[in-house]
């Protein structure tokens, strides 16, 4: 999937010498990489390599001990997750983090929180602006529901859905924010082949149709190789590889990390 006609834009996200430690445990050491606009970047690595921590640093859940992050030209060291969200970074989680008590529709609607601005009083009375706003955003959400083909479950509480569908709803919630940068943490974990194919298609479509830049963590090498434009490999919190799928496939250090060093 290295179409030559795909136009990569300028750098949207630049991670520079990020280090992160919890107490004495070093989760990330001196990580740097760049993501270009419209790119699909995969972060791979064995369990505990610091992949999720990296995403958490990017959208502000963890604050790095050293290094900086440049997003759309703004350099920052610390930011709150909601600030990241307001700058167009959305995210899904390794262990599904949906709002269990709410319906699919409401879950996806929460994704539009930042786009809504009806006043408090209008909401209390459900008049004018508040009501129109609800309807207008509902339309948008219905588009996403159509896109992900989950029309039939829109009123179901998410807690009752099977795992694969929950993952899809979570993607929907992230999409509802119309992000410029989408972080996907193992979007296909625990799925069967068919579900993986569906999910891959959604990811590619999102990238294609909306021009969304995507950073994803995934363990399934087949999927990673097919989907991504570029791959960053982490091992024990250090970056050991960065390149196109072909380059990574032939990278000695990466092969060692994955298959063990052959003496």
């Amino acid at each position: 999937m290295n179409d030559t006609d795909r136009k990569l834009g300028p750098t949207i996200l630049k991670v520079e010498s990020i280090s992160l430690a919890f107490g004495g445990v070093k989760a990330l050491t001196n990580i740097s990489f760049e993501v270009k606009q419209h790119e699909i970047l995969a972060i791979i690595g064995p369990n505990g390599a610091g992949k999720s921590s990296m995403l958490n640093v990017i959208n502000g859940v963890y604050h790095p001990n050293a290094g900086s992050i440049t997003y759309k030209g703004n350099v920052r060291q610390q930011m709150k997750p909601y600030e990241a969200a307001s700058q167009g970074i959305a995210r899904t989680f390794q262990n599904i983090a949906l709002f269990k008590g709410m319906s699919v529709l409401d879950n996806i609607m929460t994704g539009r929180t930042l786009k809504m601005n009806a006043g408090f009083l209008a909401q209390c009375l459900h008049i004018g602006p508040a009501r129109n706003e609800e309807i207008e955003h509902r339309k948008k959400v219905e588009e996403i529901i159509d896109f992900l083909q989950i029309q039939s479950i829109r009123k179901t509480p998410v807690g009752r859905l099977p795992y694969g569908l929950q993952k899809r709803v979570e993607l929907g919630r992230a999409l509802a924010a119309e992000p410029e940068l989408l972080l996907l943490d193992e979007p296909m974990a625990g799925m069967n082949i068919e579900e993986k194919e569906d999910m891959s298609r959604f990811i590619l479509d999102v990238n294609d149709e909306f021009g969304t830049t995507i950073v994803l963590i995934e363990h399934d090498m087949g999927v990673v190789m097919d989907l991504s434009d570029r791959i960053v490999v982490l091992d024990y919190g250090k970056k050991i590889g960065d390149g196109t799928p072909t380059e990574i496939r032939n990278n000695k250090e990466v092969i060692d990390a994955y298959l063990g060093v052959s003496d």
């Binding site: 959208n59 859940v61 709150k80 997750p81 909601y82 990241a84 969200a85 307001s86 959305a90 995210r91 989680f93 983090a97 949906l98 709002f99 269990k100 008590g101 709410m102 409401d106 609607m109 929460t110 994704g111 929180t113 930042l114 809504m116 009806a118 408090f120 909401q123 209390c124 009375l125 459900h126 508040a130 009501r131 706003e133 609800e134 309807i135 509902r138 339309k139 219905e142 919630r173 924010a177």
Partner: protein, 354 residues
């Protein structure tokens, strides 16, 4: 057979987002309103107004308020009694210090005062969760108990520390008879229920529920925890504060700080749990249940012809409350509201369940 959504197609999102999307539900609500505004006033005795309807309605208002905080936003509070006290005493002080104010305005100002206190004491919720927060709200409870019994300014230096008020007068109408009081409370409840329902089905309500279900994820979506939690504290305390003012002025008529002690806080929390966390109807059902159960228990021995001391009855009441709390949490965490909903779903299928 009559409760169906079949054939009722929604052609707009507006229709689908209505509070009662099914036509029969609208009829249902209309019937309830009819009962509330017409049937009850025609049939109920003075005693029933005073002992049942008025307290149940005011408590329903308080329980809905607490449910917004606990059930929707997931922040546990053991300080409802304190918020009611703030509402009541603030309304009282506005009334005696600015006599030209309309009493209803004073009630709302009482609610607003509770809001201010609620937001201040909601600030810890930004750093602490769960039972830590519950303990923090207990601090408020003890602090207000003390404030209103020790600082005489709040009670306008009445020697006994208790307050007695005249029936309120609004635009020439004196609310002195039980039936008038009942109407006043009912109107409050209806208006606040509508407001509550509107809030929870909109953006703010979703922000609360998201914070409740998974706060980290909510923040990542762009819901500011400060905003979600404090707004829940604010709205909830406003409801509870207004309920407190009504409780003091309309139901009690005269009261002392003990009327709003920690037992009241627990009662309201029980109403929310038994009625159903995260449900507006639940607040009402819970309030009715908790208010009526002691009355029922007191009458039961009389009906059965058994002689039990009142002390024993109050102990039994404790046991039953305790057991019910455990039962509902373990078996039906969504409370009476869920039972209500299941009944409706059954009705939808009845009489052809397959």
């Amino acid at each position: 057979m009559f409760y169906r959504e079949a054939g009722q197609f929604k052609t707009s999102y507006k229709a689908d987002q209505a509070v009662f999307p099914i036509f029969q539900d609208k009829i249902f609500v209309a019937i309830w309103l009819f009962i509330g505004f017409v049937v009850v006033p025609m049939l109920a005795s003075e005693y029933m107004f005073r002992a049942i309807f008025i307290p149940v309605i005011i408590m329903a208002l308080a329980a809905i308020g607490l449910n917004l905080l606990v059930g929707y936003c997931g922040q546990v509070s053991l300080g409802s009694g304190a918020f009611m006290a703030v509402g009541a005493y603030a309304a009282y002080n506005f009334m005696i210090r600015v006599p030209e104010l309309n009493p209803l305005i004073c009630f709302l100002l009482g609610g607003l005062s509770a809001t201010v206190v609620g937001v201040i004491f909601g600030i810890p919720s930004l750093r602490i969760k769960g039972f830590y927060l519950a303990v923090a709200t207990l601090a408020l409870q003890f602090f207000t108990d003390w404030t209103f019994s020790r600082i005489d300014w709040f009670t306008n230096y009445t020697p006994s520390g208790s307050i007695a008020v005249q029936p309120i007068e609004v635009l020439g109408v004196v609310f002195d008879s039980p039936i008038r009081k009942y109407f006043l409370c009912l109107v409050f409840l209806v208006i606040f229920t509508i407001i509550g329902k509107n809030i929870v089905r909109g953006r703010i309500g979703r922000a609360w529920m998201a914070t409740r279900d998974m706060d980290v994820a909510a923040e990542i979506i762009g819901i500011r925890p400060v905003y979600a939690k404090l707004s829940a504290f604010a709205v909830s305390s406003f409801f509870i504060g207004v309920a407190g003012a009504l409780w003091a002025f309309v139901h009690l008529g005269s009261w002392e700080p003990l009327a709003f002690d920690i037992n009241l806080s627990f009662s309201i929390l029980f109403m929310v749990i038994i009625g159903g966390l995260g449900s507006i109807v639940g607040g009402m059902l819970g309030a009715a249940f908790i208010t009526l159960l002691p009355l029922f228990l007191n009458q039961l021995p009389v009906w059965l012809g058994i002689n039990i001391s009142t002390a024993m009855i109050s102990h039994l009441e404790f046991m039953i409350f305790g057991a019910l709390i455990i039962f509902f949490l373990a078996v039906e965490p969504l409370g009476l509201a869920r039972i209500w909903q299941i009944t409706k779903e059954k009705l939808r299928l009845w009489p052809f369940p397959h």
